[in-house]
Structures are given as C-alpha cells and as structure tokens.
C-alpha cells in the first residue's frame, strides 16, 4: 500500500492526489469521491460512494451529477458553489455539513467541494459523520 492512502478527508493537498490517483487508489479511500467534468457529468465514482448510495459506477458514470445522480445537491448550497467557482475562475475548497439521502435514508455527512481553474475534474467528497 502506498503512503498516500493515509490521506484524510480534510487533507489540504487532496486535490493533487485525486487528480493523479488510479481507480484502485480512489477505491481504497474511506470516504466517497465523485469526480465530475466541466459539464457536471460524473467521471469518477469510487467504491465507498458506490456502496453508500447503492449504485454501481456504470449507472452513474457519464451521467449528470446534479440531475441524475445526486439531485439533492442541486441547490445553492452545493451546485451553485461549483457554478460560481466555474464562472469566476476561482478555487473552491469548501467543507459543509449536509444530509444525503443514501438509499432514501437521511444521512448526515460532511461534503468537501473542490474545484480549481485548469483542472479537468471537480470533486465532491463525502464523509459520513459519526
């Protein structure tokens, strides 16, 4: 196992790691990773997130995050932040408390929203609160 596996949800250098990580590396993380392109289509979907949501990656990858995969994030608290960062060409790294509806159960999570200009993907990281 590589040392980067110890990277935590809140690690400051996480963006670089995610951009370089293989699928297997993403799957080994203990929090959910959803990577989307500049058109909000899901490009990466790790095992943790897949198991939590009950959806296999092939049902999710290539679909629009905010309408097909996670409509619950399609409001000013999440989607709007990505839109704003895209429009302003600014760096986004916000962590917010949120509730996801994983398998229709309300689940308290921390969401970390990551975006930066020039990067192919933007990320929503999902950390289940205990």
């Amino acid at each position: 196992m590589n040392t980067e596996q110890t990277l935590s949800f809140s690690n400051a250098a996480l963006f670089d790691y995610l951009d370089r990580a293989s699928d297997a590396e993403l799957d080994s993380l203990d929090f959910g990773v959803i990577g989307m392109d500049d058109a909000t289509q899901v490009r990466r979907y790790n095992r943790f997130e897949s198991a939590a949501a009950g959806l296999s990656p092939d049902r999710v990858i290539g679909h629009a995050l905010f309408t097909v995969v996670a409509p619950c994030m399609n409001n000013f608290m999440v989607a709007q932040r990505f839109e704003d960062a895209q429009q302003d060409g600014s760096v986004l790294d916000d962590t917010i408390d949120y509730v996801l509806t994983l398998r229709m159960r309300p689940v308290k999570v921390k969401l970390r929203l990551l975006a930066r200009p020039g990067s192919d993907l933007r990320y929503v990281l999902v950390h289940r609160q205990t």
Partner: protein, 436 residues
Amino acid sequence: MSAPVEEEYEALLQFMYMAPIGLVQTLADGEITMINPLCAQLLMPLSPDGQLANLFTALEAVVPDLRQRVQDFPDVHGTVCDALQVPIATGQPGRRQSQVLALTLLKLDAERLMAVISDVTQSVRRDRELRQSQAWINTLAIGLTDYALVSLDHHGCVQDWNPSIARITGFTEDQVIGRSLSMFYPEDAISEQRVLDRLHEADRTGWSLDEGWCVRADAGRYWGSCLIAPLHDRDDALTDEHAYSLIIRDVSDRREAAEALLKAVSCDHLTGLLNRRAFVEAVELEMQRWARFPRPLSLVMIDADHFKRINDQYGHAAGDAVLRHLAAGMTATFRAMDVLARFGGEEFVVLLPDTTLEGAEIVAQRLCQLLASQAVEVGGQAVRYTISAGVATMDADVSDFDALMQRADEALYAAKAGGRNRVERWQPALQSAAVR
C-alpha cells in the same frame, strides 16, 4: 438477493434517486424515515438545524403549524393538506431567490405520514403572468380610453418599461424605471407611506382604485383613474416578492361629472372643503393605516377668532366670505394629501398624514400668519380676521380619533386663552388646564 433481484433493486433505487418530485415518509411525530434526493434538495436550504431528522422541524420556518395540523387531523388516514403553496426564499444573502413549494401531506395510518413536495415556482409565475394579461383585458373592456400599464415592485417602484407609459404620461423610460408611482401624481398629492398603504389595500381587497389629478412629464395635469392590482397571491407571505399592476387612464372628460358627484356627497357647500361626514370617513381609513403601521399623524383644529363679532358687525354675507377666505387659505397652505374639512360653524380641521407635531405646528403657523396679513373684501369693506389653532399628534397614549380630537381641542382652547391669533400644540399639562 439473487443477481436479477439485486439489479432490479438498484434500478428501483435509482428511479427513486432520479424522481423529479420530493417524497418523504415520516413517523407520526415527523421523524423522517425515508426521503428521496429531490426532497432533500428542496428541504436542506430551509432546515434550521442543517439536518433532515424531522420534517416538521425542517419546515418550521415556512409552515409553522404543520405539526398542529397533523395532530388536529381527525381521521385515521387521509389528506392533511393538499398542494399547499409555501413561498420560500433561499440562496446566499444578496442573491436570494424566491421559490414556491407545493406540499401535500398524507396520513397513511396512525404511525406514518407521507409528504410530496415539489417546486411549483414556474407554474405560479405563469399564473401571475396570466393574471397580468387578465388585468390588461379588463382594462380594454372597461372603456375605449387609452391607458398606461405599469408594473410595480413591492415598494411601488416602476419595474418595467412599455410604450403605453409614454403615451399617457409623457415620461421616458429613463425617467420612470425604479421611481415610485408617486411621480405620476402632483408633488404633494401622495407620500411614499401612502404608496405603501395603497399597495397594502390592494393586497387586502384585491385592488385599490382612486381618481384624481395626475401629472404628465411636461407638468400638465390630467384627471386620472388609477387602479392598483396585486399580481401575487393574496397569501404570498414574502412581501419583497410582491408585485403589482398600475393602470392609469386619462379620464379628464369624466372629471367634471366625477367631481360634481364627489362634491355633492362629501363637500361643504360654502367652502368646498370636506364636510364632517366625509372627514370622519377619511379619518377612519387613516386610523386603519395608523393601526396597521403607526407613523406620524397629526391633527390641526382651526377656529376663526371672534367670528360672532364679525357676523354681528358686518353681516352674515361677510361671515360667509371670511369662511370661504379661510378655506382658500387652508387649501393653499396645506398639501393635497392632507384632509381638510369644515367641521361645523367656524371650526375647521386638517388631518396631516406622515406629519409630526412639529411639522403640523409649522404649517399651522404659516396659515395663521398668512390670514392675519390679509383682508377680505366684502361689499367694499376690508374685513380683517385672525384664527387660533391647536395641534395634536397620534401616539401610543391616544386611544382613538376622538381622543386625538380632544387633544387638538385642548390645544385650541389654550391658543384662545393665550390671546388668539396663535397656534398651540397639545402638551400633557394642558389636559388638566382644559377642564372647563
């Protein structure tokens, strides 16, 4: 689970994830047991605690009585509320958007509730637009005279431009956008507070109609019939989303008939000021406005000094001339929005909306000085006269209009006692002094 069942389960799960309508199931106390993503999307911005543990809590700010409604619902199962429209505002400060949610709540059994929540903002907006078109059609149906249709925001400021505004009022787009509707009236005819009053009255009754002098861009006057109708729902709670239609018609050709009718029923035949009955009606409306939203409201009571002596010395014709002169002086001194009336004999009253005690006293002083400096020509004789005035203002201690009149009367008595030809304002000390 076997593979096909597992796959079907996953497909079903995704169906629920993607459903474009909010679904939530709760226990009887509102505790959320199942919720789909769209429901979370709609509720999260409302949730006061950032959680979605309880539906009643999540909706507390916008439907505070939901828990009570469920408790009061008598049947074992049934519809507690059906497509209840809930206006909400979400978004970051400064960029708030208004949305309208529709909430249907079903009681499944003694233990379970199910709610359907959807965003009906667009359809509500379409309804509003439809209502605006209906306002147009109504205007067309009412008469063939031209009209201006003006859309107003919740402050009564002009929102959008259309050429009908120029046709009727002569103003240009630059001149009207963002300006208060008071710009269509003569300068002192309507205050900003009165604008809000009229919007409120339109909210309450469905419309607010008045007829009177309006002013064009070139300062020319015309007799306008102005209808304000709300474009939002009556129960739309978000005041800052309220919008109105103002329809102005130039009915100058109807003015004489309208004025004559108005005069016949509400004016004092000698002076042309309002009669006592019309004054009391106007006062009732002002008092309603004051009760809803207290703001400065003052009263001046005016009495011609030694009027009996004038009548005795110069005759009744001279007395009438003095009263007419006094009324004309009042009309010239007070604003168009003030309510001027002859209350009886040589006694006059003026109700001044949005005016403090000090403000009313200053105007009354001006009138007092004006009349003292002039003479009335009657049959070749110059008759000089003066007035005394008492000024009082509404405050929390004044229980009703009679009490306000009482205070103005006490102040007037003080002015008389102080030597006449003067204005006195009501002071607490007068109360005991005025026992007479």
